[in-house]
Symmetry: C2
Subunit: 313 residues, 2 copies
Amino acid sequence: MERLCFGIDIGGTSVKLGLFTDKGSLLDKWEIPTRTEDSGSHILEDVAVSVNQKIAADHLDRESIIGIGIGVPGPVTEDGTVIHCVNLGWGVFNVAQETKRLTGFETKVGNDANVAALGEMWQGGGRGYKNLIMVTLGTGVGGGVILDGEILTGSNGAAGEIGHITVNYEEEDSCNCGRKGCLEQFASATGIVKEAKRLLEKSSEPSKLREVQFLSAKAIFDCAKEGDVLAGELVEQLCKYLAIAMSHIAHVVDPQAFVIGGGVAKAGTILTDSIKKYYENNVLFALKNKDFKLAELGNDAGIYGSAKLIIGK
Amino acid sequence: MERLCFGIDIGGTSVKLGLFTDKGSLLDKWEIPTRTEDSGSHILEDVAVSVNQKIAADHLDRESIIGIGIGVPGPVTEDGTVIHCVNLGWGVFNVAQETKRLTGFETKVGNDANVAALGEMWQGGGRGYKNLIMVTLGTGVGGGVILDGEILTGSNGAAGEIGHITVNYEEEDSCNCGRKGCLEQFASATGIVKEAKRLLEKSSEPSKLREVQFLSAKAIFDCAKEGDVLAGELVEQLCKYLAIAMSHIAHVVDPQAFVIGGGVAKAGTILTDSIKKYYENNVLFALKNKDFKLAELGNDAGIYGSAKLIIGK
């Protein structure tokens, strides 16, 4: 009998669900809306209903299902307790126990950025590595630390919060976290747009960016690829700050590789090439020559990683 | 039969050896000189002779000895291979296999700073923690990362090289590693003395430091405790840079505690209190309230940690 499991990624607007074999094949995936009303108390009920519907529709043998893995947007401790998932309306409770109660299946829970890192290691851009750092450049900057094939959770579930490594001690604007100069302020999709507006205001140099109606990270990278000087400066700055944070990370855990994902990473090798250049200048000799990879699973990284959580090493 | 092991710390001038019970009691300790001639080829032979002499002198039953742990001054991979221990004259070879060949005992090998961290976790200032960072402030700045009760080695044996985290991007003098602005340039015993000379030259403010014949880290901390303004500034700067590096580390691994050791740490709570103050301003909310402890084992941390290496979790 083929062993199966569910990999589930709970986001603020939708819940992504995937049915996997324990060898890593994604058999099917679907989404349901995230009901955040009533302090998010229906979210896990909806997940349980959706899992049971899938089992019934596909005539799956419950005995073949080894369990459920779940990624959630917030800090999670080793035992599956969340500590305020603001986007879901959740307070403090044990998501693993509650899901097991609702479904009967063993459940493991991880932070969404960490789980995405595990997914990329298993079936994405990090295949073949057991020690890697994933950096997700989206609206914010998320991170995941994988050591010996497993997520590093940290003592309060806050390992891999690399978007909040301070990279610029001169910055005067505040980050969402309340501090100043976080990586997220420069390397997120919103961060680079903000930096672009700042630069365009300060500089009188001509730039295609001045003609773009809605500035976006994509527009900035596209202009940089076409040789626009100011856009090029913005990309260099983003890569420089990312490389600074990565160099700090390397001196702590000495990973094999960095995997870069999220919307901004769609820019491609312009990003990894430039990061590598700055990184090499910022680390000890023994930490040079790391691999810099682009993520491959896109929005599915979370369901892959959640499945891997329950499958184990 | 009581189970025993040897914990051995190989330094550039002497080899420290300890005989331990597997419960953590140090039964005896002694030293032999480190013979670095002939590319350090006699060092492990001398260790084997010393171990065998101890077994004979104390009429120990060889069956009661579970093995040997060794700390070496340089990068070591998981399997016990060293990659150039410059201070010992060693190239690349497997220290664990060679020691087993010479003694007949199972051997495990770790980097000296990492092993000291493990020792402090086991029987020193880090007792009770399973996830901690040790920072050793000596001639240089060493580090050790302990996760789930074990040393994090890293993919090239360079995890925990926190003395080379860049903390000052304006610095123009070079670190021993060839780069500029490393933590070691500000927080080591040699670093703070160099900073003191710089400050005394630049400032015309009166200071007791001007009367000290041989400036040392101890003299600077002593003057700071007596209220000397310039000495106080130097201590604050050292603590600020240490806190910056610790905040970077926290965002990666989220440890329970930091343990501070080495000669400079003899300054005591003036150091931990000030570091804590700067640290709290430099981290995400979820990473606040870590414990800052002083190391307790002094020069014995290495032999304790080496013993723990072979005893295991």
